[in-house]
Symmetry: C2
């Protein structure tokens, strides 16, 4: 099985790996397409200390399954990325996604989707309806992550929301908030990303000109993952408003707590979300993704693909398409 392997020193290389089997009582999936995420870029820089096969946004077809899971064989699926034990303290207090001994596809203790095959337990799988094509299906996982925000924060048609960061994740979050009735402004640094936001029908404003919007938003989502983005997101939140941190931060961020305390801001970390809701929103077109796709590469061209992914839009690899 051809696979892209990340070593501890941050280098990526194509190698042969053993094919996953159903011996672990998991379903084996041939990966048709897999997206490169901001987290993958951070993994190369040492985030989470991961080595192995990265990749966690995927669509594929189940090729092998134990008899108990035979109904999955042949199905086109997306998959939730965290595998929890269901019994530990973390599972009990916060669900399997917060398992103390969890593995996470392509992020923690489990090989991921930048390979011809991967395996996951059937309970993690979601069958994809035909209208969702493979390119769109790659966005199920990040759209689910975007949907997590509306589970955590009350969003309705009185909500004024801002999303800081007009990249892959930010534009998904903005569309999800809009689908729940919020009035949404996207704050982006580059004109090209704001143009794409506009293509999706989103209102945009440049990061430079956001000062006049200080303290105006009920809910602000930081989708930048950097200190400057967090600072400008903080400035946009109204007193007693909510700032959702929806990105992978690596290292230490200097935070001025005083304004957050004085304005009684709630800063909420946000991770994985509901796949079923994401599939609905992608199927109905409420969340559009085609303008977010920069390029599609075969696995062999991973170096170009990762380079391209640093520019903000979605790059897709096609490890097991034939």
């Amino acid at each position: 099985v051809r696979a892209l392997v990340l070593d501890g020193d941050g280098t990526l290389s194509l190698r042969d790996r053993p094919k996953p089997s159903t011996a672990s009582a998991e379903c084996v999936i041939r990966v048709t397409a897999a997206g490169i995420c901001g987290t993958d870029l951070e993994l190369r820089r040492g985030y989470a200390g991961f080595s192995g096969v990265p990749g966690h946004e995927f669509v594929g077809t189940v090729t092998d399954a134990k008899p108990a899971d035979s109904k999955w064989t042949g199905r086109r699926v997306a998959g939730e990325i965290t595998v929890g034990c269901g019994e530990c303290h973390g599972c009990r207090v916060a669900g399997r996604g917060h398992c103390d001994v969890r593995t996470v596809l392509g992020i923690r203790g489990r090989d991921g989707a930048f390979a011809e095959y991967l395996s996951l337990p059937s309970m993690n799988l979601h069958a994809l309806p035909d209208p969702i094509d493979d390119v769109t299906a790659v966005f199920v996982e990040p759209t689910a992550a975007a949907c997590r925000v509306v589970e955590q924060v009350q969003i309705d048609d009185r909500t004024r929301a801002a999303v800081v960061g007009a990249g892959r994740l930010g534009l998904l979050v903005a569309q999800v908030l809009r689908s729940h009735g919020a009035t949404v402004t996207v704050v982006g640094r580059s004109e090209s990303s704001r143009t794409i936001a506009a293509t999706l029908g989103l209102d945009t404003v440049g990061a430079d000109s956001s000062a006049s919007l200080a303290r105006m938003y009920d809910v602000v989502v930081d989708a930048t993952g950097d200190a400057a983005g967090f600072a400008s997101a903080s400035a946009l939140v109204r007193p007693r408003g909510t700032l959702v941190v929806k990105s992978t931060f690596h290292g230490v961020t200097p935070v001025s707590f005083s304004p957050l305390v004085v304005d009684e801001i709630a800063v909420i970390g946000s991770r994985c979300g509901p796949f079923s809701r994401a599939i609905e929103l992608l199927g109905s077109g409420a969340v559009g993704v085609k303008p977010l796709v920069a390029a599609i590469y075969p696995l062999e061209q991973f170096a170009r693909a990762f380079d391209r992914a640093t520019h903000g839009l979605k790059v897709i690899l096609t490890p097991g398409s034939s």
Copy 2:
């Protein structure tokens, strides 16, 4: 009027100041006792850029009022510290406490309680019942701030709560959480502060030995105001739990966001709270304060008083008692 004045360079000195008048349509109050708060210590170090008379925890007697406020004359009162306009953006979206042009007693644009007299609008005043003596009454304002936590976070008899910081504010917060049914652990650095916590019937643990309690608490309140305290508070919160920042931070705190995001922690800033609830809890004895009092000094001994206040317990000045 004798008053303690803070200059821009952080020096404190006793001076004569004009007596406040009712010309501003505010009530004039003779200050019987006033507590030194962690924020006062931070003000000396430049927090909030305040110069003038500090002090915002007080009890006093109304000596002068406009005819419309004549019912207040002669009453013993505590007072809410923020004066808002009631009309601006901040007032509309988050209440007068978050007024864009607010003044705050002894903290922002308004002389405070370390003086023989102060003035506040009558709408800020709360009459004190006789059973609450003057020393106890000094704790109304910080106890109200502690009560703010239970307005922001659901607390009941299933809640496991930890309070990091066994100083003045931490021990008030711990007692308020307990009064709402939570099981509370106080994490303190010094043995003497933990002894006082125990006197109040609170369970305590040393900061050194809190590692075994990692990720165990639904709600954690950081009452330390420093980076080390915030870090140990972060470590105690369970996945999807809440970390309340209940202190005055000055400057920039380095924060490792990744665990907060991965564990989906909500970090909530918390400031002023309901005086009426604080008066109830102090009156019933649900919140005990006498073990928190380190010393009482006349205004002239402010230097000794401020020095003593750096050691964690409450020091009280008696500017207008005679």
